[in-house]
Amino acid sequence: MANDHIDLTVEPGEVHALLGENGAGKSTLMNQLYGLLQPDEGEILVDGEARTFRSPRDAIAAGIGMVHQHFMLVPVFTVAENIALGAEKTRAGFLDRRRARREVLEVSARYGLPVDPDAVVENLPVGAQQRVEIVKALTRDVDLLILDEPTAVLTPQETEELLAVMRGLCDAGKSIVFITHKLKEVKAIADRITVIRRGQTVGTASPDTPEDELAALMVGRAVTLEVSKEHAKPGREVLTISGLCVDDDRGVRAVDGVDLEIRAGEVLGIAGVQGNGQTELVEAVMGLREALTGTIKVDNEDLTGMTTKQILRSGIGYVPEDRSLDGVVKEFSVAENLVLDQYDRPPYGNAFRLNPAAIDAAARERVEQFDIRTSSPASAVSTLSGGNQQKVVVAREMSRPLRLFIAAQPTRGVDVGSIEFIHGRIVHERDVGTAVLVVSSELDEVVALADRIAVMYRGRILAIVPPTTPREELGLLMAGITGPQAVAAPGSAPASDAAPGSDAAPGSDAAPGSGSDEKGTK
């Protein structure tokens, strides 16, 4: 059961934050409010009147709009077409495009949400797509706007702008339900907070409540908001990437001349807004995507041209960013998923047969070691929660002797308990002398784990900075802005010089000194 007797009241003109962990049932609740799912029990009142929403059509008619976590925009349509869709105005039977454009511009000007009505959505950055989504909801005259995890894809500055827009909407008399698991944003914007845990309302709070109290309410126990770790002791150079260029699926340059090196015993974090080439960079290292130019070396052994199997077996662990697509085979058992990389090797099997006894024994050990909550190693991975599925992936990838460990979005869609655990394992891996690369769109995660932070923007490493760098500055870098206060300004320099150039500043050398013992993950 995703929602168990939840009560929620939203007043006119307020920002009501719905706070809860991944999988707590926030989105399920809102999908019922938006008519995408039907409640088994209970009722929805709008302005004191009971309403049934059989489809989003009914919800829209009742003045409810929703901006989904995964944008509901048709990629090949223009902005105006997307906004008009479902509420098209026609003239003599044909679409009235001029009127659609005018409406978009009107709403966009009224609420300070700049969008280009003629741009094709798939060419827009995520921040702009989100503005399109908000404009789309506003053109439908909503009184209540639901924003489902809206800040997950934004830079800190874009988040600031979004919060300002939300304020403006409330001043115009709209109510907002703001779904999130980020405490800082809740405290910044919410008028009231409802906390949901395991499908139940566990309390309401005012924004003055301290963060650790909110976190405890959300998780159900006291949580440490920090990753504790020692100073890094960087050793030999393990991963060396030079002059790497990679194209994305559409043939557009995604990684554009990247130079990077990671030493044994350090964590290099890559920060950046999603879609700036991080995915393609990691895929190129893993042999999943062709490197057009450049070299990728691990301990001076060139990986380019090797198959992914060879790369994995040369001592590289890899946690892919999309767990359900690339990380596990959902229909397979936990035990089978744990040996996906070694099923054809003794003791698990050979070229002709598997050894179920060995596989099962190894699985029991891993389940114990990595605290994987499953009824049995024989259960299908699909029956596990997101956090435990991710632990299966991490356990598998850490079961080989490693030289390099790559984790892409290691805690996406994972509950707080599992986040703590996975972060601990990553730091442990670093401490035993593995080179670690962490890619995350959550800036907090990068700051907490990394000994050095490389900021990626439009396929290039803009700068490499210590984790003590102020957030404001990191945010600007993530937006591609290298101001006077930024470490290096490789504006005119060729990209191949950019990374080493910024290195000369408090980059790698400073990491041991400045990598303080504890950093907040607030």
Partner: protein, 425 residues
Amino acid sequence: MTGVSTATVQEAPVTVAPARFMDRQRRLGVGVTLIGLVAAILFGALAPSQTARFTLSEDAEGAALSINGQLGAILFGIIAIAAGSVLLAGLLRKYQTTILVLGILAFVLSFLCWQVAGKFLPLVDTVSGSLELAVPLILGALAGVLGERSGVVNVAIEGQFLMGAFFAALVGTMATSVWAGLFSAALGGVLIAAILAVLAIRFLVDQVVVGIVLNLLALGITGFLYERLMQPDAQSYNEPPKMPEWRIPGLADIPVVGPVLFDTNLLVWLALILVFALHFGLTRSRWGLRTRAVGEHPTAADTVGIRVRGLRYLNVLIGGVIAGAGGAYFTLVSTGSFNKNMTAGAGFIALAALIFGRWTPFGALGAALFFGFAQKLATYLSVAGSPVPSQFLNMLPYLATIVAVAGLVGRVRGPAAAGQPYVKS
């Protein structure tokens, strides 16, 4: 945010790695140059040095365009080589498609010069014959466009053709009315479409599998009824009246175009009008915008209150009407009676035209005309006693589709959600 005014935004051009030299245009250039060489050398060498006559009438009489066959084959071959070289040199990138079409056209003309040398080719007959062969393909491909743009793959066009052809013959004969035949042909197409729609949309069965099964079902039913009902008593069940040809005075007197377009039957006009109607419908109307949205991102359409499944049903059923009418063409226009498996794969060529035409009405029209021309030429070659086996030309639609799907002639990107049933999460 005060730092923004003094800061610089990174807008460096993306240029570090050089673009690949052998890009799409150059690859196309290689292909066109090669076929040009084949044309100039092979066709040129084989062509007898006799006059090739392309007459403007339906027979050998009257005005004609004449050229020495050998000279023509070499000349057009050289034009194709020139077009290929322009592409290969990376020039005139803006006109890439035009040059490509020019090159292929020159190749076809070179081939014709070789084949027609010492003989004649009646142009009007060729053009109108191509169009006639293309009409069912156009209708079938449009039915496919309707389904796929809304997210339902329809490989049952062949089955819809067969049902349409069968019912047109049966009801047309029994009612002694062409129009009753045409109407029931549409019903036959809708019957298959309805089964496809319910199984694919309601019961989420794999659409390609359903389509193939429906083709076999239609083949079985019509084959059985043909043997049991039509064959024993053809007079009362399988002699439908033929569709009348209407001549529009004035317009029909225009050379070449007149007899082809303005002295013909209703279905030809219907097919051509539908191409325009669907084009404007899909791009300009509310229904079209919603159809495309449902075919690209059904969840997005659902969240703005569009009934995804309803729209898919509607489109597949309208497609059934169109494909059924396409089937009627076989019995009411081409042959005049039904025969077992008489469509002989035309539905699959329509499917090929749909893909080759990149899921657009005008693309489907162009592809269908091209395939129709290939079929017409195949008949001409076998009658003229050409050394080139006519089967080679009959292979052309499939070959062209493989080339198209392999991405050699431009990127082929169908509707993103085609073939995926919509399930609310």
